[in-house]
């Protein structure tokens, strides 16, 4: 790694740290939300928004050629809002209004309520289908933007995901990239116990996708893989990112009981210290 890329990497790591802190502060303040689901996706979102993968203009949110990013795992909304604010779509002060009455920052994202929010998600399983709509819309409009969809692993239990997986291959959606946050836990426990989705990579391959796997907390590897995906022609791509649920906070990591629960003020203070030390 060169000296300048080392600097870039350090900067990106710092952004990721701040995104993790933001998701923590927002959910603790709101006294509800899904902090552990945000923590597992932090590096993925950081790589997309700040690692040179997504093309966007924060001061021109409806720029026609922007890449579309759909947070299909809508319960990670705080992370999306934090990324958008960090990117400059809106003021960071807005982040403090998560889940407040009349706040545009609802617990799950709503299309166009804030600049940069591209889709209404939260009912899991719908984001990939929405993404295909964007891809074929771009094709009809002769536009070249790419579409990125961040999937949760639990939602891969939903039939609609596989309807969409089939359609994306059928329509040769090579401008469609899915990233799967594979933290291996859902609300009630490990996926392997609740409803196993393995063999996962083989499933996506069988549906005709280009499949790669990666350490979902390795920023450099994420960027490298997502960059390489841009050269793939004729088929959609999925990056299965192996992650740790609750990554960055030891007492939250791998403990599924934190799935839909915010940390209280004391817990958040401990978590903050850990995140800052990492």
């Amino acid at each position: 790694m060169t000296r300048s890329s080392n600097l870039e990497h350090d900067k990106l790591k710092e952004i990721a740290r701040q995104l993790r802190l933001d998701a923590l502060e927002m959910t603790t303040r709101a006294k509800s939300g899904h902090p552990s689901s945000c923590f597992s996706s932090v590096e993925i979102v950081a790589a997309l928004f700040f690692g040179g993968i997504l093309r966007y203009r924060a001061n021109e949110p409806h720029w026609a050629e922007r890449d579309r990013f759909i947070m299909s795992k809508g319960h990670a909304a705080p992370l999306l809002y934090a990324a958008l604010a960090t990117a400059g779509y809106f003021d960071r002060a807005e982040l403090l209004r998560l889940r407040e009455m009349d706040s545009p920052l609802q617990g799950h994202p709503i299309l166009d309520t804030m600049p940069g929010v591209e889709a209404t998600t939260g009912s899991l399983g719908q984001g990939l289908s929405l993404g295909i709509g964007h891809v074929l819309g771009a094709r009809l409009n002769q536009q070249t933007f790419r579409v990125y969809v961040l999937l949760g692993d639990g939602e891969c239990q939903a039939g609609q995901i596989w309807e969409a997986a089939m359609a994306a291959t059928h329509f040769k959606c090579d401008t469609l990239t899915a990233i799967l946050d594979y933290n291996k836990y859902q609300e009630m426990g490990p996926l392997s116990r609740e409803m196993g989705i393995e063999p996962l990579a083989e499933k996506w391959r069988a549906f005709g996708w280009h499949v790669e796997e990666v350490d979902g907390h390795d920023l450099g590897a994420l960027i490298e893989k997502l960059d390489a995906f841009k050269q793939i022609r004729g088929k959609p791509q999925i990056l299965i990112a192996h992650t740790i649920k609750g990554k960055g906070v030891s007492f939250v990591e791998q403990d599924y009981t934190w799935h839909g629960r915010a940390l209280n003020t004391e817990q958040a203070q401990k978590a903050r210290e850990e995140i800052l030390c990492n």
């Binding site: 209404t120 289908s129 295909i132 709509g133």
Partner: protein
Amino acid sequence: MEILSRVHARNLVEWAKDKPNVVVLSADLTSSVEIDLFRDTYPDRFFSMGMAEQNMLSFAGGLAREGFLPFVHTFAVFIYRRAYDQFADSIAYPNLPVRLFGFLPGVTTPGGATHQAIEDIAVLRALPNLTIAEVGDATEMETVLDAIHPIQGPVYVRMLRGEVPRLFPKPEPFCLGQARVLSTGTDLTLFSSGLCTEEAMRATQALALRGISIQHLHVSTLKPFADPAVLAALKQAHLGVIAMENHTIIGGLGTCLAEMMAEAGIGKPLIRLGIPDTFLHGASKPYLMEKYGLDALALVRQIEKLVGTSLNITRQDLADIRLESVHSQAKAEGL
């Protein structure tokens, strides 16, 4: 009576000619919902989505977001039963301009309960941001696309196919939110919707000959339900009000009227003629309409109750029943 065939097929092609943002989505029922002509005429604007309605509805949301006007076509049951969640969250909640055409309402198919949309209006009327229209004849089928075009949000159209009568003059198009007055009278007010209007008209002629004065309105907008002419007609009903619809009596036209009457303090008898609270058998349309009590003679019997006397009207006194030779050009059995 003029009978037309494949009205939607031809009309859609003509209507969409100068509207390049109109795209049509199909879930393996392209011929059965009369969009084969569109597919053949504008292949670039046609998407075969396979038998996967949940994906199709969310996909439509994505397309709408890119500036297109997706026209989703399938049997109604597969829209509101199979893909209700996608309808709600990918289309209605973000208020996207998607048009959904639901075919085989109520008794229009011998395919049986799995294919008969008997509660679509009840289910979808509760969905915020949605506009609901139901066509009753060929003129409405030809003009409903223009009527709903200005609407920025989603629209559900309860659609007909195959052979359809022209009940209303061609120069009198579908007007969103406005009921059609088919006869004026003071004894009672009759509201009918969809294909029940044809049945109602078979009866009202015979009833007029017996001196019954009926205010008859055809209702084609189920949501929003706020037509001042409907309210006025409810108020003027002397003996009572009758609703007649090809839908379960729970949650459809009759319920809309009951709500309006209650809210306006109109304390008059309301008779709801429609599909009773049951899944239907599969059979021909006239058979089912008679069996479940939503044909012309059933209407006469209810009016006799309101009037309090027998009108001595038999089946022979009613206008001829119209037997369809073809339910669908796609399949002989009319599925």
